[in-house]
């Protein structure tokens, strides 16, 4: 008898919730989602974490009602709600769940003006800048550590590692980060749609940079481990050579001692 947990993440209710939220957030004019009044519009998804802004309820007719709570641009909201409904329906149909979809209720919890959106983008950029600076500082610290290890051991491997990190920091990640952070903030204010897309692209790029940094840190750690191994092997080799020299000296001096003793 098995007591395994049921596959909650693959339940129809969770799949409908996931599809509905993704479709709603992809609608132009929708800037985000909100857990709504009393924080009730949240669905637990074991696969991807809590789905904030959507609640799916089973109805007596076997279908599922979807309640969405959204943050939107300052545009005509009834038309936007219809657009959201149409997209949710299309997306759920694509997932072959159209038969179980009931009404789609849309609540707009908040609207954001262009000024507020520009301020939010600027704040986000400051946070990104701070994170990038911190990460680049960490990479520089690792490179310095590599230098110190290289000065103590053989310099070839650490020199190579330092070169790789420096190249990645200055040419790839650093320049890319500066280019993105240097982008004019005003471009986000042209429209909520473009700004949201730009923000998403920036976040994706930042995530990529973070992954690259993590990979480089892992590579550095592996190289440091290899260096430690090399040093240990060198120490063992020199110890063995010393032992052999000592034994040779002992062998060379043994007959003389014997002779003296015989005399």
């Amino acid at each position: 008898m098995s007591f395994d947990r049921p596959q909650v993440g693959r339940s129809v209710r969770v799949r409908v919730a996931r599809a509905a939220l993704q479709a709603a957030l992809a609608t132009p004019g929708v800037l985000g989602s909100d857990s709504g009044p009393s924080r009730g519009r949240v669905t637990a998804d074991p696969d991807s974490g809590p789905l904030i802004g959507v609640l799916v309820t089973a109805q007596s007719d076997g279908r599922y009602a979807v309640d969405l709570s959204l943050v939107a641009d300052m545009v005509p909201l009834p038309a936007l709600a219809e657009d959201v409904r149409a997209r949710v329906r299309r997306r759920v149909d694509d997932d072959e769940l159209g038969d179980v979809l009931g009404v789609v209720n849309v609540e707009f919890a908040y609207v954001v003006t262009a000024d507020e959106f520009a301020a939010a983008i600027a704040a986000e950029q400051q946070v990104e800048e701070a994170i990038l600076a911190e990460e680049l500082g960490a990479v520089a610290a690792i490179a310095e550590e590599g230098d110190e290890v290289g000065a103590r051991g053989s310099g070839s491997v650490t020199g190579e590692a330092r070169g790789r990190v420096a190249a990645a920091s200055s040419a790839g990640i650093g320049a890319e980060g500066e280019r993105r952070l240097g982008a004019p903030a005003g471009e986000a204010t042209h429209g909520g749609r473009d700004a949201a897309a730009a923000l998403a692209a920036r976040q994706a790029a930042l995530a990529t940079d973070q992954a690259a940094l993590a990979a480089q840190q892992a590579a550095l750690a592996a190289e440091q481990a290899a260096l430690a191994g090399e040093r240990a092997a060198l120490a063992a080799e020199s110890a063995a050579r010393l032992r052999s020299l000592e034994s040779e000296q002992l062998v060379g001096s043994a007959p003389e001692g014997d002779g003296e003793r015989e005399r």
Binding site: M74, V103, N105
Partner: protein, 156 residues
Amino acid sequence: MAEARTTTERNAGTHADAGSSEITRQQGPLQTERGQTTIADAVVTKVASEAAREVRGVHELGGGVSRAIGSVTQRVGVGDERTQGVSVEVGEREAAVDLTLVIDYGESIPKVSQAVRDNVIKRLEGITGLAVTEVNVTVNDLYFPGDEVPEQPRVQ
């Protein structure tokens, strides 16, 4: 301090012919067969605030007390300057708005009040689809140019 309160009962005929079209009540822009659209109070508040600020002659929103409290709450990060001086009641299809304004000295209070009312109704109905039943405007203060410049001390 000048204080005036102007009230307009808009759509006065709404209640009179309310029973004439039950279908219209059920199938408005916010209630459809495919689902219901709900507009939160915060949305109506924000739209009304922005609409009032767009009108020439409106210097600021909020009474003296709410502005003082607002400046404190904003400093600790819990207040929103954009929503002070606005109070709303939101139903499924209708909304009522109360505004407290500071108007520039020299502007006609009735004209500014009417312009604010018209703009709030236009924006709210256009953005939210809610019918605006009333917009009550309270003029709490007048702004004189130079009010923000601190007075020079008479002695040093």
